[in-house]
Amino acid sequence: MRMVPFMKYRQVAAWSSVALLLGAVASLSIQSLNWGLDFTGGTLVEVSYPEATNPEQIRLNLDNAGWNGHVVQYFGSDRDILVRMPPQKTLSDKDNARLGDSLFAALSASADGQIDLRRSEFVGPAVGEELANQGGLGLLAALAMVLLYVSFRFQLKFAVGAVIALFHDVLFTLGIFSLLRWEFDLTVLAALLAVIGYSLNDTIVVSDRIRENFRQSRRGKSSDIIDESLNQTLGRTMITSLTTLLVLFALLILGGELIRGFAIALIIGVVVGTYSSIYVAANVLLRLNLSREDLIVPVKEGADLDGEP
């Protein structure tokens, strides 16, 4: 079987990763994320009309009824309409919570009561902030746990590689969500944590092989051993990515509007996660000068001394 000389291109890969991540950071710092209702707080009402309808008309109707600040858009089909309202600073918490009801009443009135309420959500500003904090904390906690577990099971250098790879994947996915202004809500956050899980899976499989090969082979350059390991796991990496992508595309196409963001985030994450376990995790290992000495099974120091009289 022909070997793919992965590590030959590692400089190119590293620089393009850096460039992409800089792009992601730039987009995130310029236009941030398109935060969903879960994080911003506010009100959302999804209604379905008996036949195709026009958001422009609905917007006008709401304008005329004295509403302002609302965003009206199609949701999934041309009969389903989603209306959002940001939290109203002039209203009390109690009145903010009632906004959804009066919004639905206003929509219903302008459609002669012919509409169905599909979904209505209200998230108070305090809750939104809390969810965002918890989410960020969760991501950090996940990365910290990974760092600990991998350095305990493998070695610190592997842990650094894995965490940088995960960081890379999360930042990249966030960057795409920021760049394309896709909505970032709780399910996308959950998907991001699942991306961490998936990408980690990949990285561990590759690292495991690298460790094994380092221990077995007595000579050879580090980059050759890593290349060999990557090639040995390549088949598996491709097949697993493929089966995962198969189900994710099924979810994207058939799962409906509510989990679209979730599916997209995971699809991006799986693709970039596969790349990163090769070109980020392994690359970091080389950069940190992973050597055979790092992987020798440590002999317990006390063991020898005990035997002496």
Partner: protein
Amino acid sequence: MLNRYPLWKNLLIVGVFVLGIIYAMPNFYPPDYAIQIQNEQGSAAVQDRELTVALSALTESGIQIKSSSLVDGNALIRLSTADDQLKAQPLIQRALHDLNANFVIALNSAPTTPQWLREIGAEPMKYGLDLRGGVHFLMEVDTASAVEDRLEGMEQDIKRAFRSGSERVRYAGTSILEGRVLQFQFADEDVRSKARRQVEESYPQFVVTESDLPSSADGFALNLTMSDSAIREIEDFAVQQNLQTIRNRVNELGVAEPLVQRLGRQRIVVDLPGVQDTAEAKKILGKVATLEFRLEASPDASRASTLPHNYEGRAVRLERDLILRGERVFDAQVGFDPDSGLPQVNITLDSEGGELMHRSTRHNIGRRMAVVFIETKTRDRYEFQDGREVKISEPYVEERVISLATVQAALGVSFRITGLAGDEARELALLLRAGALAADMFIAEERTVGASLGQENIELGATSVLIGFSLVVLFMLAFYQWFGLAANLALIANLLLLVAVMSSLSATLTLPGIAGIVLTVGMAVDANVLIFSRIKEELRKGTAPQLAINAGFERAFVTILDANITTLLVAIILYSIGTGPVKGFAITLMIGILTSMFTAIMGTRSLINLAVGGRPIKRLAIGWSQS
């Protein structure tokens, strides 16, 4: 060598698989559309007579009844279609209206799990609100102002104690400082230490410190800081009280399986499956009850100055003059009489309440005092308008005496009601709390899912699982052929076990949960892929087939374990930070990881051992690339 599993391992795998089938089975019986009838007073049972009235009303209107039963004081009527269910609710409401009791008639979905399955605890999975439709509220109790109110009450209380105590303390001024500190100022040090002794003796909920204010004439200050445990207690009380109010109210909404639960320090989750009218739900949940303390009228009192009431089936007349209302009640807790060891209810009033109570009781020792519980409820009335019968809902006030006890001494800020049985004391404390001054509560989050969207989500979810699953199965079969078949059987077993475990843990299935199942299907084959590539590699190196199989499983095992444990760690974090739907995703992911390790490693191994492990083979083909 040969690859054989010992008998016990094969039996274990078969056993787990059979258990999986049994516990997953309830999910394959579609639930019945049902109507549940409860008495509004939760403790009273629905009788045969009422069920008969309801059933005959349905038969008259030509609605097919599948079956009916009385269980635990509730009646359950099973119907054949969703349409019938919707029609049946108002019919039963109308029919039972003429009987003299209030009933809650709720739409329900009744599981059709066969008896023998139910006996071993096998139940179908629960659906989350995003799949069944309904309302989810997250209520936040304003505990901060409850604490402040209490602090102000204590200020008044201590002032009074200083003024009227056995040893008078002359204070120069008081103020409430930042961070819940109550400050008293005094003119000299002696007075301050006298005050300190008094406070420390009678108000253990405060931590007392001294500070000097050089710029002021009355520069000797005493700082009273409420202890953390005292603050916790006030918060707990405020939350418990609102919890009780909501529980009392939820019954009125006619919800089959409501969930009312405290979340964290100051929040309450309310899940109302099936409820669509959120405005109505909010109105009913927002209503509060109140209390009135009144003396029993003396026998010679004029009719005009008394109010007729009932207590434990007997008529009592209460004085029209009110002692005080529930907003003066701070706390009501079940306690025990230190002398007799019998249960009692300890009541704490605010200072003004204490004064009112003292004024009314000091000259009335030996008379009885009643506590009246007052709630606003709605009642339906049927009326003919334009020749058609229409339903009219109107509010009414329900008053009932929940306690009638003899006044033993002049009462003050805190007093107790004794002579109660354990259950009575608990019930009384609950009602007193429900009617006490309510800490404000507001909606922090609300999510409503319409019934049609819920149904659609179930269908979309089921389709994605099915298609995703089929794609993976086809791919594995095409790529690995016979070995792929083994992996596919393991995948089926995995899905079955996942459903079985979720059902028996009564975990809730949500839309993100379904997404988690789909993802699990995609990732579960990873273990098999790892094993198969290892075997292939061994074969390429020229290892004999049986040895290669063994080595493949052995070597891949550590990798699979490491990879899965790390993913499991991430899923656990997701579970602990997530709310509602995200938790649902984390649960399926966690369970999926565990079941897939079992099926992919042990299940596949057992199948392969059975197929090729028992005989010497010269050539082994895994998929298209042959050795």
